[in-house]
Every structure is written in structure tokens, then in C-alpha cells.
């Protein structure tokens, strides 16, 4: 079963701070653009994978519940472990969603 891919500190595709100033404005602009696109792509992939992980937990839980209904399940604890996992994964997702919207709100409120 796939784990939820959390943001591990070693793999975040943030570019390191460079001490020297960029040589020419055009080059730095190009570089910036490429880097932003790359970051967005990686972050989007990470988010997609994490959501797919949550979806897998939900699917497993639904399958176990159907087995419980039709009496096919031989261990009751399997059903509840699967459903608890799905519940916790969903809760974690909602927490992340709330944090992200909160961050967006903070940025929008920022006075420039």
C-alpha cells in the first residue's frame, strides 16, 4: 500500500541561495522562469501523488466495508484498520488544505 508522500526535507527542489549577483538581467530572468516552472511541476506532482495515496486508502476502506456487508470478511479488525487509516489520511489532507488556504489569505492580506 502506498504511503502518503510527505514533503521530506532533502528532496524539496528549492534552489540554494547564491551569494554572487547575476551577470546579465536576461539570463537571470530566463533562469528564474525555468526554475519556477520546474518547482511548480514538482510540487504539483507531489500533491497529486499525495492525493492518490489518500484515494487508495479510501478505496481499500470501501472494499473492506463491502466485504463486511456481504459477510465475506473473516477478520473484523481488517475492516476497522482500513477505515481508520482512510479517516486519518482524509483528516491530514483537510489539514493541509486549510493550511494552504490560510497561507494564501495571508499573502493576499500582505501590505506592500
Amino acid at each position: 500500500m502506498p504511503m502518503i508522500q510527505g514533503p521530506s526535507h532533502g528532496e524539496l527542489p528549492l534552489s540554494p541561495l547564491s551569494p554572487q549577483a547575476p551577470q546579465s538581467p536576461t539570463e537571470s530572468g530566463q533562469n528564474e522562469q525555468m526554475r519556477t516552472g520546474e518547482t511548480r511541476n514538482n510540487f504539483g506532482d507531489m500533491l497529486k501523488e499525495a492525493l492518490q495515496g489518500v484515494q487508495n486508502y479510501q478505496d481499500a476502506s470501501r472494499e473492506k466495508t463491502e466485504q463486511l456487508l456481504t459477510g465475506e470478511v473473516d477478520n473484523l479488525h481488517d475492516v476497522f484498520i482500513a477505515s481508520e487509516k482512510a479517516g486519518v489520511a482524509l483528516q491530514a489532507t483537510v489539514e493541509v488544505r486549510d493550511k494552504v488556504t490560510d497561507a494564501y489569505d495571508r499573502v493576499m492580506r500582505m501590505t506592500l
Binding site: 470501501r62 476497522f80 479517516g87 482524509l90
Partner: protein
């Protein structure tokens, strides 16, 4: 319209209806343990839960062919077992069996209730904003 409630909730609902029917049937059997010539009833509802089989259409090229989902049309029902007789007065209730059925049904019912609770709390979690 987007389905707010998943099919699992409907299936759990059917399962709980069935558990209720089985409870009633078992209670009826226990109440009639001394009734002469009473035969034990049995609740059948598991076939109503198999949604996957009901969606499976058979391709019939002749009117005499059978439909796979034919049994699915029938709702929950009780059947009478006429073959057994546990008492001299023709009564067919096995008290031990009824008690075991009741205990089994109780576990089944509370498991279903718990899952139903989980389904609804998942929905509420997903809906709740900050």
C-alpha cells in the same frame, strides 16, 4: 447532480435493514419456542447487498434465457425451515442456534453502525472549512 452520498452509504443502509429483519426474525423464533408445530424462520437479505452482480446484465438472445440479476430483484425475505423438529410437539426452534444467531447479528449490526458513522464523519470532515 454530483452524488453527495456514496453508494457505500446506501449499501450500509440496506445491510442495517437486513440486520433489523434478522433481529426481528430471531426474536420471533425465541418467542415461539413453546408453540406447537411452529417452524423456525430465517432472514435472507445478503443477496440484496451484492450491487456488483445486479449491475451485470446478461446478453439474452432468446426469451427463455435466464437473467443473471434475476435474484437481485427480490428484496429481503424470510424463509421457513420445515425439515427440522427439535421438540416433541413439532416445534422447530433450536434455542442455542437462535442465541448464536442473535449474538452474531449484534456484532454485525454494531460494525455496520460504526462504518456508517465513519462515512458521515468523513463527509463532515471534508466539508468543514476553517
Amino acid at each position: 447532480m454530483v452524488a453527495l452520498f456514496s453508494s457505500t452509504i446506501d449499501q450500509l443502509h440496506n445491510g442495517l435493514n437486513g440486520a433489523g429483519l434478522r433481529q426481528q426474525t430471531t426474536a420471533n423464533n425465541i418467542a415461539n419456542v413453546d408453540t406447537p408445530n411452529y417452524k423456525a424462520r430465517k432472514a435472507n437479505f445478503e443477496h440484496t447487498l451484492d450491487a456488483a452482480k445486479q449491475q451485470f446484465d446478461s446478453r439474452r438472445t432468446d426469451g427463455r434465457h435466464f437473467d443473471f440479476g434475476g435474484a437481485g430483484d427480490r428484496g429481503a425475505y424470510t424463509s421457513i425451515d420445515r425439515t427440522r423438529s427439535y421438540h416433541h410437539n413439532g416445534n422447530g426452534v433450536d434455542m442455542d442456534k437462535e442465541m448464536a444467531a442473535m449474538a452474531n447479528n449484534q456484532i454485525y449490526h454494531s460494525a455496520l453502525i460504526d462504518r456508517m458513522d465513519g462515512q458521515f464523519s468523513s463527509l463532515k470532515t471534508a466539508l468543514g472549512g476553517q
